[in-house]
Structures are given as structure tokens and as C-alpha cells.
């Protein structure tokens, strides 16, 4: 127990000490995001992430939104386990044909009003994989998309900017 406390105290709070420019920018965008989420979603934006065929690098960066540096929960953004609890779907990957039905069902299970955000080049345009016998390509070929966040993969900062963009729209 003491070892844990010692390490925790030594580490301090990394979240609020922006060590570089990216973090200051992150903070600024985050606060704006928070304001919009407060107004439109009563202080909390629940996101259900769906990997519809990604190479898994997009997932790594979305996960990074939750680490101590970014800690998006403080801006009111949180990830939920069921589409039924979600305000928005954050979809990655080109939609593989084998995920087509599952993605449609997930979308139907999400209560309206709902947003769909395509994250990553694959989700926006089909990216490196495009459309083929195994892939439908961009997410909008399968379900309606409200916003796109390009990048391969988009960085946590770009993801946050993308979310903000949706809420502005």
C-alpha cells in the first residue's frame, strides 16, 4: 500500500500540467467541448465505439483518449458498453462485409437522436483497404454518417477536435 501511495504522490497529476503544446491545445479544445456537451447532452456525451473492420491502430488511439494525459471523461465524454446507452457511435475501419450486419444492428439499437462519427481514413473513405469483395469501404456506405475524423490513425487531439466539430455542426 505504501509503495502505491508513494508512487502516486511522486507521479503527481500529469493531466493538469500540460508538458507540451499538444496538451495545451488539447485542454483548450476539451474545455470548449465540455461547454457544448453541457448544453446539448446535459453534461455527458456517451459514446459507443464500434470497430467495423479496422487494423486496430485506430482503437489504440481512441483508448489513449482515456489515459491520464488526456482523460476525456473530465470534458464529459465517456465510453459506454452498450449502444442502447449511447448518444453517438464512433465507428472505425472500412466496414468489412462480415461486420456489415452487426454494424447495422448496433446502429438500430442506438436510440435517436444519435450521431455517427467515422474515425480514421478507413472509416471516412475506405482508406488503405477501400471497397472489395471483403469490404464495403467507408462507413457511410452502410449507415448514415454525421461527421468524419480523418487520420491513419487520428491522434487523440484530432479525435477530440473531431468530436468538437460534430457538436458545433
Amino acid at each position: 500500500m505504501f509503495r502505491i501511495l508513494k508512487k502516486s504522490f511522486q507521479t503527481g497529476v500529469v493531466t493538469e500540467t500540460p508538458p507540451d503544446v499538444a496538451d495545451a491545445e488539447f485542454e483548450r479544445i476539451g474545455i470548449e467541448l465540455r461547454r457544448r456537451i453541457d448544453v446539448r447532452f446535459s453534461r455527458s456525451l456517451a459514446i459507443r465505439q464500434v470497430d467495423a473492420g479496422s487494423c486496430n491502430a485506430c482503437e489504440l488511439e481512441i483508448q489513449a483518449l482515456n489515459n491520464a494525459y488526456h482523460d476525456v471523461a473530465r470534458f464529459g465524454v465517456h465510453f459506454v458498453a452498450s449502444p442502447r446507452h449511447a448518444d453517438a457511435l464512433l465507428v472505425t475501419g472500412p466496414v468489412s462485409r462480415h461486420m456489415e450486419a452487426a454494424l447495422r444492428r448496433t446502429w438500430r439499437a442506438t436510440p435517436s437522436p444519435k450521431f455517427v462519427i467515422a474515425a480514421g481514413d478507413c472509416a471516412c473513405t475506405g482508406g488503405e483497404f477501400g471497397a472489395s469483395y471483403a469490404s464495403c469501404g467507408a462507413v457511410e456506405k452502410v449507415i448514415p454518417v454525421d461527421a468524419k475524423i480523418p487520420g491513419c490513425p487520428p491522434s487523440p487531439l484530432e479525435l477530440l477536435q473531431g468530436l468538437l466539430h460534430v457538436l458545433r455542426g
Binding site: 461486420m99 472489395s132 469483395y133 491513419c152
Partner: protein
């Protein structure tokens, strides 16, 4: 250059003792083998067999304790060939004591039938079913026989890797869910099923798990993967080397460096390209950075799955800082597209080398107290020790490598046992444990971080000067290469065959997850359902790397 000498003249080839023994035993079993161009897949030795000897060759290999490192089929059905000359070529890679052997055989496309090796080597079961679904190769006595990679996106009698199958596919309308896949059943009073997925509850990849449980105990777990099949092998056909490297970097995004490296190594071997020493060193540096980042993230995630948030937050913080440095050094947080054919895309300046050494020292001092807690904390010990035990026999039978093998007593590591540049001049320390449980997999990964940091320091001390990239010579049609890299999950194989105009005709990346996914089905036996997430995380197979 195909000169065929009989198996008995062991002229120019320097062969290890086991290979001679293996060849002698094949001869005893009357398996016809030809060396043909035995070095074409160097460092592996290639052996051409008659199709009739395919299963026997596996039996002999198993009797000698060789590890099966995977198999793949290659359609030789160029439209210029007459129908009766078209064929499917099957290759299987075996390994023993760091020496590789590739068995090869060919069956006519008009009657593509070959005996299965999966009853002898259960680890290759899904690879065979994958080969069938994509090329139409029929495997007799295949122990499972169900479809694997194919769901409902293309019909049963059409095969995407055949030359007559268009990349765009054939119109089938919306692909329905693969609802009637015949799962295995366990019946009895009190037995119930839990279907999970394909869409999972976290920020993770999709796949389906079918549990049969009684009370809390898992009686059987069956995995159904293939949901993120993107047609990578088909997309590779016709690409130029640079395009292939980009694709390889997206086979499994968390292993982007290792997969790109394996593909580039295969292309470089196929074209006799000499990669500059500095480029090799930088590839090694990036691969170890990738290893450290993933191990950090996963150690934290395993702890988080048993509610130990401290380690998760600390490791997540260290990983983030590490990735930011990768961004500053190599222009990408995951170092995507930094490995290119012939070398690397980004150089390091001397000033950065100094900073990197400081980085390593800092990380080393930071992980000591954290890993100290992870290695010795009553509540973690309680959840992680004796949980999800993979026996050495199972790990060996399935062909597990990487931390899954190492935690179950199998020390194999390509960097150590079949070293390639830069590991040939600068040895990497090994890590091995015998317990086979979740705790052992975590400990092996903690040890690997330490080893990687020490190794990178030594590498930076003597970083070679010179260019960072060589021109990849244009490949001859038919040239083949095999890349073998120790990624952070274990051994990655990458097979490449060139077609005309220096374009790719066949690419098959074999991620280590092909063997660790079946291991998960075994190690979960007798554990309780709530421990599945932590068991799964401790193995962390790649869905994308397996589904292709």
C-alpha cells in the same frame, strides 16, 4: 534455375544435423523429396514433396519434435496458363533449434486435393481452413472441416484468391450475418451458453466467443473469428513493393513496425537487396519501441481487468509519453510507414540519440517501483496466479511463440535463435517462466521491457553511420522470399512471391495470433467466466492480424 538433385546428394548445402535426420526419415517412409532450388527461401531450406507425402512429412516432423510455423496456399492460375497447367501450391514452414524448413507441394487446379496436416499439428487447423476458404484447396481428413474465414460475403464455391475472382467481388447484395455457423455443443443438466460479440463491450476489435458454462465454470469456449476479414491477401496482388509495405503495416496496427519489417525483409531477400547497417539498426530500435509500448499498455490493461487501476493509470501514462517520443522521432505515434523496402524512411540525428538514452534511463527508473508492485501485491497475486494456465505441452502442440510460449516454458525467440540484423551482432536476452498462468505472461512482458531497454542502449552506443535506405532491385518474376521477425507478440512470418513487372503476386503474413487464439480456448478451461477478460487480455491475440 530449377535443377533437381535427389535427396541423397547433400552437396553444397550446409545443413543442420536435424535436417539430415529428417531427410533420412522421409526416405525411410518413401516420401519423394526434391531439393530443387533449396535456397530460394533462405534462410529457410526448401524441400519439394510429392503431394502423396504431405501428411507423412508432417508426421515425421512431429515425431522429431519440430514446431509447425504455419502453412499457406498459393494459386498458380495465371490466365496465360492452360487449364491443366494451373495449380495450387502449398507451403508449410517448420522450425527446430532456430533452423527453418519450408515444405512445398503442388496439386492441379482441376483437382485441388491434399491431405491435411492438422490432425498431427492442431495449431494449423484454422490456417488450413483459411487456405480452403480463399483458394478452394480441399483438405482430406481435415479434423474440423467447417468454414473459417468465410462468413456470408461470398458463396461457398467461389474462392477470392483465384485469378478469376475479381477484387471487387461478385454482386451478392448485403452480406447477411453468419447466423447458422455450426458451433460445437455441450449438453447436460445446468449447462448454458453465453454468446458474446462480435461487437464487444470495450474499445476493442470484434469477434465472437461462444461459452458453455455450468455455474461459473467455463466448460468450453469456442471462438468464431473472421469478422474483420478485409481481403488483405487479395489487395496485395499487383501492388508495388512500397504499396505492399504500407499494406503490411496495417495487417495489425499494433504491430505495424514488425509486420512492415517482415514484409520488407521478404521482398529484400527475394531481390538480394543489401539493406544498409544503419537502416537495420533503426528498424531494430523501432521494433523494440513497439514492443515496449504494447507491453506497457497490456500490463496496465491486465491489471485493470482485475480492478487494479493504479497500474493501469501508471502504465498508460508511461505508454503515452513513449508514443509522443515516437511521434517526435519518427513522425508517427505508432511509427507507421517508417519501415520501407530497402530501409527506413526517417533518420535520427546525434542529438536525439542522447535524448533517447535519457528517456530509457527515465523509463527504467519509473518502471521499477511500478513493476515491483505488480509483481508482488496480494490482491493481484490472488487474481492472476494460477489463472488461465497454459501447459507447456499445449503451448508446444499449438506452436505458441512470444510471451505466451515463454510464460509456458518455451524459450524460442527469433531474435535469439535465428538472429537477423541487427540482433545477429547484438544479442537480446531471453525471458522464460514455467507457470503458464496470467501472472507469468505479465512477468515475461515486464522482463522483456527491461531487456529491450538495455538492448536499445547498447544499440545506440554503436549506431552505425551511413545511408538509411537502399534501392530495392526489381524482382524477377517468380522470385520468392520469406521474412521472419520477432514482433512483440512473437514470431511473424511473411511470404512473398513476385509476379511480372516487379509486382506482388502473393503475400501471406502469418501473425503469431493464429496459434495463440486456439491457446486461449485451452487455457480458459476450468476458469470462471468472470476471469475470461483478464485471460484474454493476457494473451491479447490480434483479430485483424488473424482475419486478414
Amino acid at each position: 534455375m530449377t535443377h533437381s538433385d535427389q535427396i541423397s546428394d547433400s552437396d553444397q548445402m550446409p545443413r543442420s544435423a536435424w535436417l539430415c535426420e529428417y531427410l533420412a526419415r522421409l526416405e525411410d517412409e518413401q516420401v519423394m523429396a526434391q531439393h530443387g532450388d533449396a535456397r530460394i527461401l533462405a534462410p529457410a531450406h526448401r524441400l519439394e514433396l510429392d503431394p502423396e507425402g504431405w501428411a507423412t512429412a508432417a508426421k515425421v516432423a512431429a515425431a522429431m519434435g519440430l514446431r509447425h510455423a504455419g502453412l499457406w496456399a498459393d494459386c498458380l492460375d495465371d490466365s496465360a496458363l492452360a487449364a491443366e497447367d494451373r495449380a495450387i501450391r502449398m507451403q508449410a514452414c517448420l522450425e527446430h533449434a532456430g533452423d527453418y524448413l519450408v515444405l512445398e507441394t503442388q496439386v492441379p487446379m482441376l483437382r485441388p486435393v491434399l491431405a491435411s496436416q492438422a490432425s498431427i499439428y492442431p495449431g494449423v487447423d484454422r490456417l488450413e481452413r483459411h487456405a480452403h476458404d480463399l483458394t478452394g484447396l480441399e483438405l482430406t481428413s481435415q479434423p474440423d472441416g467447417r468454414r473459417w474465414t468465410r462468413h456470408q460475403a461470398w458463396p461457398e464455391d467461389r474462392f477470392p484468391l483465384r485469378g478469376d475472382f475479381p477484387l471487387a467481388g461478385e454482386p451478392v447484395g448485403r452480406a447477411p450475418a453468419d447466423a447458422d455457423y455450426p458451433f460445437g455443443r455441450v449438453q447436460g443438466t445446468g449447462v448454458y451458453e453465453i454468446p458474446v460479440g462480435p461487437v464487444h463491450a470495450g474499445i476493442i476489435e470484434p469477434g465472437h466467443f461462444r461459452f458453455h458454462a455450468m455455474g461459473e465454470d467455463v466448460l468450453q469456449l469456442e471462438e468464431r473469428l473472421g469478422y474483420v476479414h478485409k481481403g488483405i491477401e487479395k489487395l496485395a496482388v499487383g501492388r508495388d513493393p512500397a504499396g505492399l509495405a504500407r499494406l503490411a503495416g496495417r495487417v495489425s496496427g499494433d504491430s505495424t513496425v514488425a509486420h512492415a519489417w517482415a514484409a520488407c525483409q521478404a521482398m529484400e531477400r527475394a531481390t538480394d537487396c543489401i539493406v544498409p547497417a544503419r537502416a537495420q539498426a533503426l528498424r531494430g530500435l523501432m521494433a523494440e519501441r513497439e514492443r515496449v509500448a504494447n507491453h506497457l499498455g497490456d500490463i496496465g490493461a491486465v491489471c485493470n481487468d482485475v480492478g487494479f487501476a493504479f497500474a493501469h493509470l501508471q502504465c498508460g501514462r508511461l505508454r503515452e509519453r513513449w508514443q509522443r517520443r515516437s511521434q517526435a522521432l519518427f513522425g508517427h505515434r505508432l511509427m507507421m510507414d517508417a519501415v520501407i523496402p530497402g530501409g527506413v524512411a526517417v533518420d535520427l540525428c546525434d542529438k536525439v540519440v542522447e535524448e533517447l538514452r535519457e528517456d530509457h534511463a527515465q523509463l527504467k527508473s519509473e518502471i521499477v517501483p511500478i513493476f515491483d508492485v505488480v509483481a508482488d501485491h496480494p490482491s493481484l497475486d490472488d487474481r492472476l496466479m494460477t489463472t488461465g494456465v497454459l501447459s507447456e505441452a499445449d503451448a508446444r502442440q499449438l506452436g505458441c511463440t512470444g510471451y505466451v510460449g515463454k510464460a509456458s516454458g518455451l524459450a524460442f525467440d527469433v531474435r535469439r535463435d535465428s538472429p537477423y540484423a541487427p540482433y545477429d551482432g547484438l544479442a537480446m536476452d531471453g525471458a522464460i517462466l514455467a507457470e503458464g498462468d496470467v501472472a507469468a505472461r505479465v512477468r515475461v512482458r515486464m522482463a522483456e521491457i527491461g531487456n529491450a531497454l538495455r538492448w536499445m542502449d547498447r544499440l545506440l552506443k554503436s549506431l552505425p553511420d551511413g545511408p538509411i535506405c537502399a534501392q530495392l532491385p526489381e524482382a524477377e518474376a517468380g522470385a520468392m522470399g520469406l521474412g521472419i521477425i520477432e514482433g512483440w507478440r512473437g514470431e511473424i512470418l511473411s511470404f512473398i512471391r513476385f509476379g511480372p513487372d516487379g509486382r506482388i503476386a502473393r503475400y501471406f503474413p502469418r501473425d503469431p495470433s493464429w496459434f495463440t487464439w486456439p491457446a486461449l480456448e485451452r487455457l480458459i478451461h476450468g476458469n470462471i467466466v468472470p476471469d475470461f477478460p483478464v485471460c484474454n487480455k493476457s494473451v491479447n491475440g490480434s483479430y485483424s492480424g488473424q482475419d486478414l
